[in-house]
Structure formats: C-alpha cells, structure tokens
Amino acid sequence: MASKTAPQPPPSLVGGVLVGVLGLQGDFREHIQKLESLGVTTRDVRRTSDLDGLDALILPGGESTAVAILESSKAAHGIFDEIQKLGRAGLPIWGTCMGSILLAKDIEGSKQGRLSLMNITVRRNAFGPQRFSAEQPLDIPALGAKPFPGVFIRAPLITHVGKDVEVLGKVENGIVMAREKNLLATVFHPEVVDDTRVHEYFLKMIE
C-alpha cells in the first residue's frame, strides 16, 4: 500500500505506458518531450535490447540513409529485424517524415535499408530543396474539425497505398498521413508544434 508521502505519478492519458523513440539520429528528443508532457514514460532506443517491454515505438524525423547505415553498425546490429518482428506482431509503430520512409515497403527509386512494414509507396524529398519546405494547416478528420498545423521539412509524400491502408490526410499531390492497423505514418512533424493531437491519436492505438 502506498504511503501518504509517496510521490504521485504524473497525470497520464495512458497510465503505465512505456513508449520508445528510436534515438539513432534525428529529432527524437522532441518526441520524448512531447510524450513526457502527456505523462507518458519514454525510452531512447539505440540498441536491440532497448526494445524489450515497449508498448509502442516512434521513428522520428531525421536522415533515412544515415539511420539505415547506423542500423548496420555493430552496436545497433539487428535492430531493424527486431522492430520488423514487433511490428508484425502488432506493436504500435508511428513514423514521422524519415520514420514514414523507414516504414514503407516501397521507396521510389531507392534500394536503401528500411523496415518494409507498411503497404505504402513513398517519394523521398517530394517537394524539392529546403527552401520549398513549408507550414500548411491540414484537414485531418480523425483529429477533429480544427486543422492540424502541418510542418513539412524536405518531406516525403505517400504516393500509393495498398489494401488495408486508411488514408487519414492528404494535400493536393499526395497523402500525408496514413494508418495500417498498428502502423501510423505522417510525412509532417507533429513533434515540432504545440498541438499534441497526433501524439494523443497514436497513444490511443495502444490497446
């Protein structure tokens, strides 16, 4: 029985949940801060053993080629294989920007390393160089009526989805958010804005 002086856990949307964020490279800390602001316990994942006991995993923004190369290093060896197994077994996994590239089965014109979990085709760097990166409010009915502040940084686009993939948001020339059962992909960066609705949506996928 807890004593009266025991520290109280922070208010949590999903009590006792442990969410990992792949920390090989990228804006993983932004995701960790966002999750912690929602009262979620987090883990920076850099080794295969860091995947033990996770309730969900986030693949952050970053450089997909760099992360695929780091994956082949001795310290991270086998981490993609293990994530793949967990994803197939139903672990909720959300990829933002680079993360959506890692999740995709097909990357247009590239043979780079990936998890190949989600039945989507992505086009890397679909908008051109950084000067064409932009902010754009997005209509995403699954998040409610209020537009979500989309931030696109050298962003990919989802150009094709297979069966069982639900399209949750799109812009004129491609899909920006999609879900396939336990897998979620956004090509924009909810971790760099104040709005927490996509993080909350993902946490609700943990059942």
């Binding site: 993983f28 190369i69 754009q136 812009v171």
Partner: protein, 305 residues
C-alpha cells in the same frame, strides 16, 4: 511547397517561416555534417552515414596552407554535389556577402553557412538572414555571438572552433563558453538579466528566452578542429546537438572508414566500449597544427564576432 495548391481549409503553404527554417536543423540532430569539395567526396560522406554535406572549394586546412581569398564554391561544383547525393547539401558564403547567399539559395542548397572560414566580405555587418527562405548556420565562440547571429535570423549555430587545424581545443572552449554562460544566466534574478544582456551585447528578449528555457532557441552543433571519433563524442558529451567535421575526414589516411567511425561515435557518444571499437585501426589522422602555434592573424574564429 511549390507544387502544393491551396487546401480545403483555404490556407496555402507558407515557406521560409522561422519555424520551418529552425525545424530543418532539428532533423540533423545526433548526426555528422561533413565538408566535401566534390561529388566523389559527397558520395563517400553519404555512404558513411553523414546527415548532410557542406560544399566548399577547399577544405579549411588547404585554405590555411594556400592562402589567398577564399570565396563561395563554383555553382557548377555545388550542382554536381547536389546531383550526387540525396542528403541535404549546405554551402558556405562569405560573412556579409548576401549576394553569394542569394546565389546559393537560387541554386537550391538546403542551408547556407555564413562562414568565418572564408574571407570576410563585410567587416561590420553580417547577412540579414531574415530575408531568405533558406536557413542559415553561423559560427559562434560564446553566447553573445550566438544570440547576435540568431537575432540576425540564423536558424542554427555551430561553435567556430578553429577550422583546418585538427586541434579540438577551441571547439571545446566555445562549447563550454556557450553552455557555461547559459548556466550563469539561469542563476540570475530577472532584474539582473538586463545588465547581462548588455555585457553579452545581445537582445534582451533572446536573453530572457534562453534564461527561461535553459537552451538556445536553435540547434547547436560543434565545429572547428574535430578530427577523431573521440573528438566528436567529447563535444556530444559536453552537450552539443551534433557535429561538423571538416578537414578531419578528407585530410586523413582512410576517409571512408574515419567518416563512418565518427558517425557511430556521434550516436554512441556515451558508450566508451563502442568508441573504443570504432576508433581502432583508422589509419593516419590529419596531421594538423596546434592552435597555440598559430599567429593571431591566422585565427579564423576572430572573424565576424
């Protein structure tokens, strides 16, 4: 976004905002940005796991050795580098040379480094970086310099270090200086911040922001003299968000191997066993020059304060 029309909610995409410019370097965190002078080197850097490459016509060690005026690279060279790799391409413009920056933006580079490594074009004024859609990275030796560059619109800061030396001592000094001054600032009462801002020669609103958050409002990398995996891990342990490696890679005996080792050391900076493993048998490091042996005129970090 150029190809993106208006969405249903009636709002069109906005490019070049502060948020968009500052978010770009956030995606490079935990990574290594490598100096390259041609497409072949850029490919080696990408294959080793670089998160971006910095295009320049000569690496700093050669600028030191050759002397003469160091300028922006030939656009032809930058285009070939952009065609060779899928990772972001940065390029250097001279301090205050806003036309070189305009050219680099028009070429489609992902980030401009307004760099003390090149010869200065304006000894009084830096580029007004707010006018650009492309993000800028600028060097800084201390918190005051960092905040002045951010006030001018820099979306990313790097320590100046002392480029082209292979001597990490100045990068360490500058990183410690920035983090130390942030900690001192946090210990002050609110009414003491004005005088601190005056001494830093930095705007009070930025000083208040740093005091409240305990960090710079933009990403902060280390640069200038890093040559080994241990150097990269040292700066990461001191608290920087990532590292630039210039002459240290392509002036060494086995660039591909050293580059890959520095990438791993930057991710596993807190793990001495990994650092020991990746540091083994890398071949000759760049020869280098100690900063202490340089004359005052040879110090690049004193440019553009």
């Amino acid at each position: 976004m150029n190809t993106n029309g208006q969405s249903k909610n009636g709002q069109s995409p906005k490019t070049g905002t502060t948020l968009v410019k500052r978010a770009f370097p956030q995606m490079l965190k935990g990574g290594v940005i490598m100096d390259v002078v041609n497409a072949e080197q850029a490919k080696i850097a990408e294959d080793a796991g670089a998160v971006a490459v910095m295009a320049l016509e000569r690496v700093p060690a050669d600028i030191r050795a050759d002397g003469g005026v160091a300028r922006m690279s030939d656009p032809e060279l930058i285009i070939r580098i952009m065609e060779a790799v899928s990772i972001p391409v940065m390029a250097k413009a001279r301090i205050g040379h806003f036309v070189e920056a305009q050219i680099l933006q028009a070429l489609g580079v992902d980030c401009v480094d307004e760099s003390e490594v090149l010869t200065m074009a304006d000894e009084e004024n830096h580029i007004d970086k707010h006018k650009f859609d492309v993000p800028f990275v600028c060097g800084a030796r201390n918190l005051g310099e960092a905040l002045r560059r951010i006030a001018e619109g820099a979306a990313m800061i790097r320590t100046k270090g002392e480029a082209g030396t292979g001597d990490v001592v100045e990068a360490v000094r500058h990183a410690r200086s920035i983090f130390g001054e942030i900690r001192r600032l946090q210990s002050l009462s609110k009414d003491e911040r004005y005088s601190y801002a005056k001494n830093l020669a930095a705007p009070i609103d930025l000083v208040n922001e740093v005091a409240d958050t305990g960090k710079l409002p933009v990403v902060n990398f280390a640069a200038g003299g890093l040559a080994t995996p241990a150097d990269a891990a040292l700066l990461m342990q001191l608290g920087v968000d990532g590292v630039f490696v210039g002459s240290g890679i392509f002036k060494s005996g086995d660039p591909a191997r050293r580059a890959a080792a520095i990438v791993k050391a930057t991710t596993y900076f807190n793990d001495p066993a990994v650092l020991a493993e990746v540091s083994r048998g890398l071949g000759e490091p760049m020869v280098g020059r100690t900063v202490a042996s340089l004359s005052e005129k040879e110090l690049l970090a004193a440019r553009g304060i």
